[in-house]
Symmetry: C2
Subunit: 233 residues, 2 copies
Amino acid sequence: MATTKEFRSKYWHPAVTVDCVIFGFDGANLNILLIQRGLEPYIGRWAFPGGFIKEKETAEEGARRELKEETGVENVFMEQLRAFSGVDRDPRERVITIAFYALVKLSDYNVIGGDDASKAQWFRIHEIPELAFDHDSILSVAMSHLKQKIQFEPIGFELLSDKFTMTQLQTLYESILEIRFDRRNFYKKMLSLDLLIPLEDKVPNTSHRAARYFSFNREKYLELKEKGFRLEF
Amino acid sequence: MATTKEFRSKYWHPAVTVDCVIFGFDGANLNILLIQRGLEPYIGRWAFPGGFIKEKETAEEGARRELKEETGVENVFMEQLRAFSGVDRDPRERVITIAFYALVKLSDYNVIGGDDASKAQWFRIHEIPELAFDHDSILSVAMSHLKQKIQFEPIGFELLSDKFTMTQLQTLYESILEIRFDRRNFYKKMLSLDLLIPLEDKVPNTSHRAARYFSFNREKYLELKEKGFRLEF
DNA sequence: ACAAAAGTGTTTGGAATACACCCATGC
DNA sequence: GCATGGGTGTATTCCAAACACTTTTGT
């Protein structure tokens, strides 16, 4: 198009990145996957995986690409939080970032955590180090978004293995919402939603009564959602 | 900084705009403020007020600036929805937009609506014309966001005058949530929240019993929110 | 048999719903 | 006095919270 070049020079074009807050659950605590920066600015500081968006990809595609490149994580639940556009959030030049959050089954990716081959590492949510850029404010938005969201959509299952015990599920909800539930009432409420499939097998090698595994009935949930059903936890 | 130029050329820099979905309430229906495009592309089509972001302003500042320039609306409740980054959403070149929504007291701005001096016009939510770009998908995100939000935060008051009747408030909630409430139960629930201040004066010149005005107790709400109180409507 | 966590039922209080009557005002 | 919408009270239903005992398993 003839006007394209003219148009490009007429308006300011900022740098745009994507960043991804990755939540994982280790059975007891909510964790965040961070990578240690190897370049200036903020060299050595921990930050969310992310990078510059490319011309032929949407923001979400970019976030998934960066996530895979930097941490090996792929095929996960991911949603946009929002854009962060503070004028001085990057010391090099002005950079606008589009932030996402992802929920991963930590057990699938435990190779990444803690080893020295990669600069990626899981951190418990209450032990997050000082972060680069404005990533702590992104984190706080991500946390409150997750808290909100889990009360109306069953996204918690994205953080658990395909089969899980009721206690694991409860601990997950308690970690995210930072409140405690009565075990018996939690059971009832969860089962009454009728979205859990009780499995035959149980947790092996326990020194007490073995807990039954459940799996999440995704098909049924989608079906109910279709009918305008509103989950409330 | 020496590296800035090098850095700028290394990564692709997209055009970035801000767009604003402006909600107003006329006493019976939820309305959206649109402007008619005077330029290609989509010349003649209706679109949200918006424009290119400037180098020294945040996205929200840009959205407020454009809003004021194009419609005269200022000092309103505004929040970011999210970024829209579809690769082909603008035919000229790739443009990423950061979408906001705003809630305005329509009575303050009725000058704008319907006259021919301006290209801005209010449209009832169920009579929205075909929109430019991907603005209908932005609208649908805005609508569902508003529905969600109003159930947990008293943002409805941003759409009403400082004083309003209970029936007006109910009609507003019904318009947004697209459900009907029992008048008596709505009264009780609203009053039980203890966030409404009953005023002395009443609606004049009615052909029936005059309705009392209320005002929203913003201070009290902020105070309660501070204490971790969770509104549920 | 005992420790430790799983699994289950009942009671109770409070909130949401459903529902009906009187009040004020203009015509 | 009547039509119109405003303002209030009560009974019922349902859901959430509080709470205790039995079961399974390994040691």
